[in-house]
Each structure stands twice: as structure tokens, then as C-alpha cells.
């Protein structure tokens, strides 16, 4: 039972990060109708950029975060204007491939500037262990979880209670209607990309802080988030958070109990098994729109 609670708790902690990254993906899908396959590389680039400013330029954590925010904003503006805007109205494959191409460019830039093996992150979060009865919980992952929750709550407030959030929700409903209602849709696109990239970069920093700063590891982690997005339903932000926690718990329970039986490494594959099952059983996910189209 202790073991179960332990896995459950670490699953929830993991799920917080999944939720954070998945919300960024969902926001981009909702706002711009593009699924961002470059999310993993954006997270890795963000984490490396943060590490570079923190360790090499020797800024403090706050200024480094400010740098990441500015970088995310610039990247979002460039992406929206020069790469995604020509893709409006193009077939699905073009939109998918263009984000993949962007991802490869970012991955190449990361390898160009920060070659070689992964980096160790300096301790930016408090470390230590809390014991809740028999269950141990590292302060680092708890702090990460709290950061995720705070960011998500802030995002929820932005999305539900501000004018810009209203414009974003309107754009998500219908581009043309939003435009005729006086919303500048291209600007909303850029904002969606900005917030999405920022969330992915924060997620990347948290992952790199918990494990190790490595491009392949970070982008691999984020590929697993795709399962969360589908599970929660492509258009649902609540769904993304709930599914993040569920997938995190499943991953921890599955790998915790079954890893000794097989060769290990189940954590890498459980989200994808969930993804495949969801696609077969309930393709629209927990809270996605059901589009009835039988072929």
C-alpha cells in the first residue's frame, strides 16, 4: 500500500509537468488549428537557453526567466509571420511537416551552440525530502509541481477573465467570426504561439532540472505529452490537465510495478500504449469535441 501511495504521489507530481506542457500544445491547437510537433525541440531550446544564461552569462534565475520570455516572444513572432502564416489553408500534412521542420532547425541550433553530452543543471529549486508517513517526496518535484499549478492557475485567469483571453477563446471558436468581431486574428495567433512556447520552455526547464539537460531526453519527454493531449481531447484545456495527471499516475504505477518483470524502461512506452488505446476506444478523448464523420 505504501508502494502504491508512493507511485501515486510521484505520478501526480509528474502529471503536473505533463499538464503544463499539454496545455501549451492544446492552446496552439485551439487558437491556430496547428499541432505543434516542434514542442519538444522548443522545450529543449528553452531549457538550454535558460541554462546558458544562468551558468554561462551568470544572471540570476529571475533575469534568466525574463530572457526566456523575451526569446519565446521573438520566436513566436517570427514563426507566426514567416512560417505559419503561409500555411493557412494548406493541407494537414503541410502544417504538421512545417512544425517538424522548425523543430529540426531548433534542434540543429541547440546542437550547434551547445554540443556534446547533456549538462547538469545547477540547483535552482530547494532540495531535500519530505516524509509523509511512509511516503517520501522530494522537495524538488513538489516545487516543480507547485510551479506548474501556479502557472496553470495564472494561465486560467488570463484565459477566462481578461480581454485578451476572451479574444483567444473567440478565435478558437471561429477565425472568421472573430475577425469580423474586430479581433486581430494574426495577433492572437502570435500570442497563442508565445504562450505555448513559453509553457513548453518552462516545462523543459523543470524536466531538465529534475533529470538532466539533454536535447533528446527533453524532446522525448515532450513526445509523451502528445498522448496526454489526445487523451484529454484536443480542444480541452481542463482535459489536458486531468489527462496529464492520469497519464502521469499510470506511467508511474505501470513502470513501478511492471518494470522488475520486464527489462525496465516501461515509462518510455506506457503513454504511447495509452495513446493507441484511446485512439481505438475514444478518439475524441475525455473532453474533446465529437465530430461525427463516418467513413
Amino acid at each position: 500500500m505504501t508502494l502504491f501511495l508512493q507511485f501515486l504521489l510521484s505520478g501526480i507530481m509528474l502529471g503536473g509537468i505533463y499538464g503544463l506542457i499539454a496545455v501549451g500544445l492544446v492552446l496552439i491547437v485551439k487558437g491556430t488549428q496547428v499541432f505543434n510537433f516542434a514542442h519538444g525541440d522548443m522545450a529543449a531550446a528553452g531549457a538550454y537557453f535558460f541554462w546558458w544564461m544562468l551558468v554561462k552569462v551568470q544572471l540570476n534565475a529571475g533575469l534568466s526567466i525574463a530572457g526566456v520570455v523575451i526569446g519565446a516572444g521573438l520566436l513566436a513572432l517570427l514563426l507566426e509571420r514567416f512560417i505559419l502564416r503561409p500555411m493557412i489553408g494548406k493541407p494537414l500534412l503541410s502544417a504538421i511537416m512545417v512544425t517538424m521542420g522548425v523543430g529540426q532547425i531548433l534542434a540543429g541550433l541547440v546542437t550547434l551552440f551547445w554540443p556534446g553530452p547533456g549538462r547538469t543543471f545547477p540547483d535552482i529549486l530547494p532540495s531535500g525530502t519530505i516524509h509523509l508517513g511512509a511516503v517520501a517526496l522530494s522537495v524538488e518535484s513538489l516545487t516543480s509541481f507547485i510551479i506548474c499549478v501556479v502557472v496553470l492557475v495564472g494561465f486560467y485567469f488570463l484565459f477566462q477573465h481578461t480581454d485578451i483571453g476572451l479574444a483567444m477563446r473567440g478565435t478558437a471558436e471561429d477565425h472568421q467570426l472573430a475577425q469580423s468581431g474586430g479581433i486581430q486574428v494574426t495577433r492572437i495567433f502570435a500570442i497563442c504561439w508565445f504562450i505555448g512556447i513559453l509553457l513548453s520552455a518552462i516545462g523543459g526547464i523543470l524536466i531538465a532540472n529534475l533529470h538532466q539537460l539533454d536535447r533528446i531526453a527533453v524532446s522525448g519527454f515532450i513526445l509523451k505529452t502528445f498522448a496526454v493531449v489526445i487523451f484529454g481531447g484536443m480542444e480541452s484545456i481542463t482535459g489536458a490537465v486531468i489527462a496529464g495527471v492520469i497519464v502521469g499516475v499510470l506511467e508511474m504505477l505501470g513502470s513501478g510495478y511492471l518494470d522488475p518483470l520486464v527489462d525496465g524502461g516501461l515509462a518510455e512506452v506506457i503513454p504511447f500504449i495509452v495513446l493507441l488505446l484511446i485512439l481505438i476506444v475514444r478518439p475524441h478523448g475525455l473532453f474533446g469535441y465529437v465530430r461525427i464523420e463516418r467513413v
Binding site: 512545417v98 521542420g101 550547434l112 524502461g265
Partner: protein, 352 residues
């Protein structure tokens, strides 16, 4: 010249459906074959032959994904894993059951087709983006199985693969492999062109353009999507089996996630739904890659600060940038350019 001058009419149905329609076509085809099978392997050294061999194997695999994504419109984000499956089936049968490579080849092709069929099953309920997601899941699930297969798949170390033998004759050198792979490539191209021109190809195009309209016309869309998945994987299996025996051993490191994106890139840059386009796409991206590998170290010497990973990073940046630029400026791919060049040659010296 490459098109027929006006006033030349088909008098028999065979002429109407011929691939090569004029003596000019035949002579160009003959020259190409002489160059491909005669001059190039005679003149090239082992380095160039190795490049040609790897390009040819990639091209065989790309013909497969061209059917699934280019003709049938189902996006596959897991093509590399089916190539891996083909290679692993050959390797496992040869290592554990002692089969010869030739005996494993049909099993590998059929087995990979079945695996592809299985992972195509979600297409009963889902389409478009969700199919891409299910193939992505299949990539990670199969790759986990291959990595954790214990002694059967050799886990991380992979498996050694023997060379093909015909009686006592062994295919070992680059030149011998060149002819083996060229034979399979020509066969694959012939089969692919025949399928694409036939009923099956037309059905695939109908499904790609509008699956509901296809269903209304009496096409069993689900069955044909499954056929497309099987066909795609069968080509991947052939390519994987060839790759395993050519490379001499197989590990999972040959099939990183990056390869999936590359296969889609070949199809898009060449031009979706065109066999010639696949050839162009593979040649263009692969030669770009080899060019970067050749000139990358020079750039590294010029800028010592970044020399550590200049080739790896330039490969990634180059491929990504080419894909993005093509999608923005020439979404119909190199094949479309080729058609424009042919058309302008036909009406030369006039502009229209």
C-alpha cells in the same frame, strides 16, 4: 521532344497505356540504364558505391511511404520502425533459425506488411491527424519491444546479419551489393509504377482527395486504407531486410525518430503521389546530407568555436530548412518543377 509532337496518335490501346511512348523515351530510358547499371558501378569507387547503395535502400522504403502518404493521404509518423521491423525479422530468422537471407526475404516482407496492417487498424475509426498519432505510438511501442527483446532481438547490441549467398557465391563487396540492391530497386520501381497506374493507385488517389466521395462511389475505404498500410510496410520490410544484410548488423540506433521525419520529407520535397518525385526527393535530401558531411568539417575549421558538432547540427538545420522552404514556396515538390521544365522544353523556343 520529350512529349509527343502534334499529329502523333495512338492507334492501339497498348500504345495508349504505355509508359515509354516514343523512341525518345526509350532512348532516354536506355541511356539511364546504361549509366545506372553499366557506367556508374564501373567508374565509381567504393565510397560512392556505398552512398548509392544507401540511397537506393532509402528509395525503396520511400516508395512505400509514398503509397501511404503520397497516394492514399494517410500521414505516417512511424515509417522508420517498419523498416526496422523488416531488418529485425531477417536478422532474427537468420540468427536463431539459421535461415539464409534469401529465405528470410519473403517472410520479412510479408511479416512487416502484417505488422503495418495491424497498426493500420485504428484507421477504422480515425483519420487524418489521429492516424499520424497512432503511427507515432506504433513507432514507440515497437521500438520498445525491439530494445527490450532480450536475446531474441539482441536488445541494445543488436544482431549480426550474414551476407546473402547464391550457392557458394557470396555477395560481399560494395559492387556486388550495388547490383543486388539495384535489382531490387528496379523491381520495386516497376511494381510501384504498375500499382500507381492501376486500379489500386486510382483508388488510393480517390481516398486521398475525398474519402467520403470515394465511399459513395462504392470503394471500401477501410479495406483500401489497410491495403495501403500493408503495401507501405511491405516496401519498408524489403528495404529493412536489404539494409540489414548490407550493413552486416542491425541495432536500433539505425532508426531514430528523426528518420520518420526524413521519410515524410522525401515524399514532400519530391512531390506527393509521384514515383519520379520520390526519386527526386530522396536524391535531393540524401545528396544534401552527404554534401553537408563533406563540407561541414571545412566550415568547422573556419569557425573553431562551433567545430564540435558542426556536421550534426548543419544536417539538422539543413534538412529542417529545406522542408520548411519547400512547404512555403513549392508545396508540390520537385516533381512539379520537373513537369514545368518538360513542358517548357516541348514548346521551346516559344514561351507558351
Amino acid at each position: 521532344m520529350s512529349r509527343r509532337p502534334c499529329g502523333t496518335f495512338d492507334t492501339r490501346y497498348e500504345l495508349d497505356i504505355a509508359v515509354f511512348r516514343t523512341p525518345f523515351h526509350w532512348s532516354m530510358f536506355g541511356l539511364l540504364m546504361i549509366g545506372y547499371l553499366g557506367l556508374f558501378p564501373l567508374l565509381a569507387n567504393d565510397g560512392y558505391l556505398a552512398i548509392a547503395n544507401l540511397i537506393s535502400i532509402t528509395l525503396i522504403a520511400t516508395l512505400g511511404i509514398n503509397f501511404l502518404t503520397g497516394y492514399c493521404g494517410q500521414i505516417s509518423l512511424g515509417h522508420a520502425i517498419f523498416v526496422a521491423c523488416g531488418g529485425y525479422i531477417s536478422a532474427v530468422l537468420m540468427n536463431h533459425l539459421g535461415w539464409s537471407w534469401w529465405a528470410t526475404l519473403p517472410v520479412s516482407v510479408a511479416g512487416t506488411a502484417l505488422i503495418g496492417l495491424f497498426f493500420g487498424l485504428p484507421s477504422l475509426r480515425i483519420k487524418g491527424f489521429y492516424i499520424a498519432m497512432s503511427t507515432l505510438a506504433s513507432y514507440f511501442i515497437i521500438s520498445w519491444l525491439l530494445m527490450h527483446g532480450g536475446a531474441i532481438t539482441g536488445s541494445i547490441n543488436g544482431l549480426p546479419v550474414d551476407v546473402p549467398r547464391i550457392g557458394a557465391y557470396e555477395i560481399v563487396s560494395q559492387r556486388q551489393f550495388y547490383y543486388l540492391i539495384a535489382g531490387f530497386l528496379i523491381l520495386s520501381l516497376f511494381v510501384a509504377k504498375s500499382i500507381a497506374r492501376g486500379r489500386l493507385g486510382r483508388v488510393f488517389i480517390a481516398i486521398r482527395d475525398d474519402d467520403m466521395a470515394a465511399e459513395v462511389m462504392g470503394i471500401n475505404v477501410f479495406a483500401y486504407k489497410l491495403i495501403a498500410f500493408a503495401l507501405c510496410s511491405a516496401y519498408a520490410g524489403l528495404a529493412g531486410s536489404l539494409f540489414a544484410t548490407y550493413w552486416g548488423f542491425i541495432t536500433f540506433n539505425h532508426f531514430p525518430f528523426f528518420e520518420n521525419i526524413m521519410y515524410l520529407g522525401y515524399v514532400i520535397i519530391g512531390g506527393m503521389g509521384s514515383i519520379v518525385g520520390s526519386i527526386f526527393g530522396v536524391l535531393f535530401l540524401k545528396l544534401l546530407g552527404y554534401g553537408v558531411m563533406m563540407f561541414g568539417p571545412m566550415i568547422g575549421q573556419a569557425f573553431p568555436a562551433i567545430s564540435g558538432s558542426v556536421v550534426a547540427s548543419l544536417l539538422l538545420i539543413g534538412h529542417g530548412a529545406v522542408i520548411v522552404v519547400f512547404l512555403i514556396f513549392e508545396p508540390r515538390g520537385l516533381f512539379h518543377r520537373w513537369e514545368i521544365i518538360k513542358a517548357s522544353m516541348r514548346i521551346w523556343p516559344f514561351t507558351y
